[in-house]
């Protein structure tokens, strides 16, 4: 029972996936309940995780390969929330597509379980397995649509993902070669003991790991796939990719670089790598986003720029002392705020695109008159992405910049601030179209209950945490505390 308890949250999700598949094949006329089964599984998973929190039952499991700590719990909740929103936002699209209902929801749930495993992994092998568990279904989902673009997206994602995985694996192999172990704790100990002897090998391993995870996090220069895949993949899947796999990438990078590479002699190296990647990602992502006419491509490039913001937090981590956890909690806060916000934006895009049959920003003109709710919600999420108060995005940005300033990265913060201004131009450009432009048609854009619910929850989250950010900040800080304890 005890080891079942340890994987309970993932198990609940996977059981739901199996039930969905069974319903699909045994009682196809009952298909309409499938998303609700998925939601029930996710709810069970969240409740299971909650019992750990209530019992204060944090532990290392399976010989130290899984860490069920505050950090993992933070991401469990985040991934369950993200997946639930994606499921709700998919209902309309899947019904309209009219095929493979069960498979779709099952794959989404499998991705969720993979992401959850990933955030708890403390061993290179577990990390790689859970990464693949979450990635392979995503390749399928990206190619789920019937059109050519979606197939292209799926194939592109698969090929580049395979390259990234092999880079990652190579990096892990080097790391294993240098330290003789796959467990992050032992790697840290080995580096402490005689890391200087293998310094060049370790740095090479580190670079390969960053390249492999950089693909997941979608930061420059590993971002090439992003705009094409986001544009081609079905919009709910793009939403999932833009928050789920990105958040997981950051989770595992935090875990590896905190736990394995904590030795002082390496930290300066990776801090500088992250700082440069952050600056480049922000700038390239934002500049490219300005010229986009397709809202999904625009959100793709904006997600690259946002990943640059996360990385400011990563770069700030290297500083020891009181600030040590500040950078980590900044990343967590940003991940959570970004997840709410970007999901909200994508759900609004799903709702609008389905009705008007276009992803072109110019077709969003006058959306305010056609659907005030969607226009206000989308504009609000875009404002949050820009980082203007009173939104969750503002606090996240401010917290990250604060961490950067405390870590003596003033130059990076100034680049980040300038980038916020650039991003205001294209984010608010969409808002301007919606509120000021003349509508192409007078027909109202209606919102289905499921979309309305997911969008309402996401937007409300952005607003509530925008006015009272305390709870979110303290949770992020608790989760980051685990690194200080070691």
């Amino acid at each position: 029972m005890s080891s079942l308890d340890l994987v309970g949250p993932q198990l609940a999700v996977l059981v739901a996936a199996a039930v969905v598949l069974l319903v699909d094949s045994l009682a196809p006329q009952q298909r309409r309940v499938e998303p609700f089964i998925a939601l029930a599984g996710l709810a069970a998973s969240a409740i299971w995780t909650l019992t750990w929190v209530l019992r204060d039952d944090y532990q290392l499991a399976f010989g130290g390969t899984l860490a069920l700590d505050e950090f993992a719990v933070f991401f469990y909740f985040l991934f369950v929330g993200i997946t639930a929103t994606v499921v709700l936002a998919s209902v309309d699209w899947v019904n309209r597509e009219g095929r493979g209902h069960g498979e779709y929801y099952a794959l989404v749930l499998v991705v969720c379980s993979g992401l959850m495993f990933l955030s708890a992994s403390r061993d290179l092998i577990t990390i790689f397995l859970s990464l693949e568990l979450s990635s392979i279904p995503q390749y399928i989902l990206a190619g789920w649509g019937k059109d050519k673009k979606s197939s292209e997206a799926g194939l592109k994602y698969l090929l580049l993902g395979a390259v990234a995985s092999s880079l990652l694996l190579y990096g892990m192999a080097l790391l294993y070669g240098a330290t003789g172990t796959t467990l992050l704790d032992d790697i840290a100990a080995a580096i402490q003991a005689d890391g200087d002897a293998h310094r060049s090998l370790l740095v090479l391993a580190m670079v390969l790991l960053i390249a492999g995870f950089g693909f997941k996090m979608a930061v420059v220069p590993f971002q090439m796939w992003v705009p094409d895949v986001y544009q081609g993949a079905p919009t709910p899947v793009s939403a999932f990719l833009s928050v789920g796999s990105k958040a997981a990438g950051f989770a595992i990078v935090l875990r590896i670089f905190f736990e394995a590479f904590e030795a002082d002699f390496l930290s300066d190296d990776w801090s500088m790598i992250f700082a440069v990647l952050a600056a480049v990602s922000m700038t390239i992502g934002n500049l490219a986003a300005i010229v986009q006419t397709d809202i999904k491509r625009m959100l793709g490039y904006s997600s690259i720029a946002q990943a640059g913001n996360f990385m400011v937090g990563l770069a700030a981590i290297s500083v020891t002392g009181e600030e040590f956890t500040l950078g980590a909690s900044a990343v967590l806060l940003f991940v959570a705020a970004y997840a709410f916000t970007n999901l909200g934006a994508f759900v609004a895009v799903i709702a609008i695109s389905q009705r008007i049959g276009s992803d072109q920003i110019r077709d969003y003109a006058g959306m305010w008159k056609r659907s005030p709710f969607l226009a206000v919600a989308l504009a609000f999420c875009l404002v949050s992405l820009t980082g203007i108060p009173p939104t969750a995005g503002f606090w996240a940005k401010m917290y990250v910049f604060n961490a950067g300033i405390r870590a003596d990265l003033g130059w990076l913060v100034i680049i980040g601030v300038l980038n916020s201004v650039i991003s205001a131009y294209y984010y608010l450009g969409v808002a301007r179209q919606m509120f000021v432009g003349e509508p192409a048609a007078q027909e109202r854009v209606r919102t289905s209950p499921t979309i309305g619910l997911s969008l309402g929850v996401a937007t409300l989250g952005v607003l509530v945490f925008g006015i009272l950010p305390m709870p979110l900040i303290s949770v992020a800080q608790d989760a980051a505390e685990i690194f200080a304890r070691q």
Binding site: I405, D408, G410, V421, L428, R432, V436, I473
Partner: protein, 488 residues
């Protein structure tokens, strides 16, 4: 703990939300709700004004924990002193005025009035906030209503102007945010009162840079040449009420910020850069005045004259003397009322003629005597006629700055002479001269709301002109601590 300020702060916002929630069939009642809310806020602020004791400290203070974890220690902290109280009352007064001049708005009234009211709350928040992050929050909040008000209800290239306004402000405030974080990191607090008493000597970036970053944020808003180009566009394309708010109170956020933040928190750097303030101020005065002379559009003319008049504020602040800074504060208030009235008069004209081209107007004093009287009166106040509000302010600034920056004042005087030129020339072309028959059919100002706005503004201009002590007695004690810090 006092809650008056919170009530005052959120009164307009509550009225705004109520406007927004009205059912479609009740659309026409939005303006009444907005009027009731803004009148209540005006009444409350007058009551606070009468309660105010001129002892130099912050009053009606309200302080609550807001975000308090580790590196962050933010408070919901409100209070007013002699510097902000006059600006608060100016805001509530001009809010009533802008609601009244908007009574003729016909389209999408609910959104319009709710945005106007939220704008009022955000400006009040800027003047009342004593926590730097709260200040910043309100500073940014003002963008949404302004963007929508200009972009939806404006005229001409309204989208371009609205976007330009937002981008300039966002760019400026981005720099400000960096400076705020650096200051808070050094001093360990976001508390403006504490920051204003701290003696910072160094930070992770040189304090001179911090000062400049803050200054850029405020200078965009003031605006200062060469960061002023958004202003004529925004004014030219904004609806009347928005111009009134923009010129009347939004620009003052910049001047207030420079006095309250730049000079008070970093007095040493202010001393270093004071001469630049005076120089840029004088340049703004002169450049603004010259450009004003060339304008052919009434609203752009007033907008450029604002650039010139705000240069006087910067000059007064730059001289860093008690008299000059009191004059600068007084100039902010006087300019708010006077320019508010100018924009109201032009708005009334535009409602009827639907043109702001000076060349197409002329001889209107015969066809619309009341509006023409209002315009002439406001024009005289703007050029600094004694016994009207603008005169006192300009004289105080010049007297206070003359000893320190003789040359800057000598340059600035030319700007004042030019202002007499452009105002009188404008009046001559618009209200006097041969009557144009195409305007024969037009009605003069005749609604009660039009009468009450112009009468109220005119009365205030006279009051400020003949009884400056009403405000000066309040401003003086608030300037004292700033001067003390400068002298150390």
């Amino acid at each position: 703990m006092d809650i008056e300020l919170s009530v005052l702060l959120f009164l307009p916002a509550v009225a705004g939300v109520l406007c927004g929630l009205l059912p479609q069939s009740q659309e026409r009642n939005a303006k009444w709700i907005a009027l009731a809310g803004s009148l209540a806020a005006l009444g409350l602020s007058i009551w606070l004004f009468l309660q105010f004791e001129n002892d130099g400290g912050f009053q009606f203070v309200e302080k609550r924990e807001w975000v308090d974890i580790g590196a962050f220690n933010l408070q919901y902290y409100l209070g007013v002193d002699g510097l902000s109280m006059p600006l608060v009352i100016l805001t509530t007064f001009l809010t009533v005025a802008s609601v009244l001049v908007s009574f003729s708005i016909e389209t999408r009234q609910r959104l319009y009035f709710s945005m106007l009211m939220i704008l009022s709350t955000s400006v009040l928040g800027v003047f009342m906030a004593l926590d730097f992050m709260l200040f910043f929050l309100f500073w940014e909040l003002e963008l949404f209503p302004m963007f929508l008000l200009i972009a939806i209800y404006g005229s001409g290239r309204k989208e371009y102007s609205a976007t330009k306004f937002v981008l300039y402000t966002v760019a400026g405030s981005a720099f400000m945010l960096v400076a705020i974080l650096v200051l808070a990191f050094e001093a360990g607090t976001f508390d403006i009162v504490e920051l204003g008493q701290s003696n910072l000597t160094n930070a992770i970036i040189p304090l001179g840079w911090v000062f400049l970053l803050l200054f850029i944020g405020f200078a965009v808003k003031l605006p200062v040449v060469p960061l002023h180009t958004w202003l004529p566009d925004a004014h030219g394309d904004a609806p009347t009420a928005v111009s009134v708010m923009l010129a009347g109170v939004l620009l003052k956020m910049g001047g207030y910020g420079i006095l309250r933040m730049c000079v008070t928190i970093l007095p040493e750097q202010a001393d270093d850069y004071g001469i630049w303030f005076a120089g840029i101020g004088a340049a703004s005065i002169l450049y603004g005045a010259f450009v004003t002379l060339r304008q052919t559009d009434l609203k752009r003319l007033i907008a450029y004259s604002s650039v010139s008049h705000m240069g006087i504020v910067l000059l007064g602040v730059g001289a860093l003397g008690k008299t000059s800074m009191m004059g600068a504060t007084y100039q902010m208030i006087a300019h708010g009322v006077v320019t508010g009235m100018l924009f109201v008069s032009v708005g009334l004209l535009y409602d009827r003629t639907h043109t702001r081209e000076i060349a197409r107007l002329g001889g209107l004093a015969r066809q619309m005597p009341l509006i023409a009287t209002g315009l002439v009166f406001a024009g005289f106040a703007s050029l600094g006629l004694p016994a009207l509000a603008g005169f006192i302010a300009e004289v105080t600034v010049f007297l206070g700055s003359f000893q320190k920056y003789e040359w800057a004042v000598l340059v600035a005087i030319w700007g004042v002479l030019l202002s007499a030129g452009y105002i009188l020339w404008m009046l001559q072309r618009v209200t006097f001269g041969p009557v144009k028959t195409e305007w024969n059919e037009l009605k003069d100002q005749r609604h009660w709301w039009e009468h009450s706005v112009t009468a109220g503004l005119a009365a205030l201009i006279i009051l400020l002109g003949v009884y400056p002590a009403m405000m000066m007695d309040m401003i003086g004690p608030a300037i004292d601590p700033i001067v003390e810090r400068l002298e150390v």
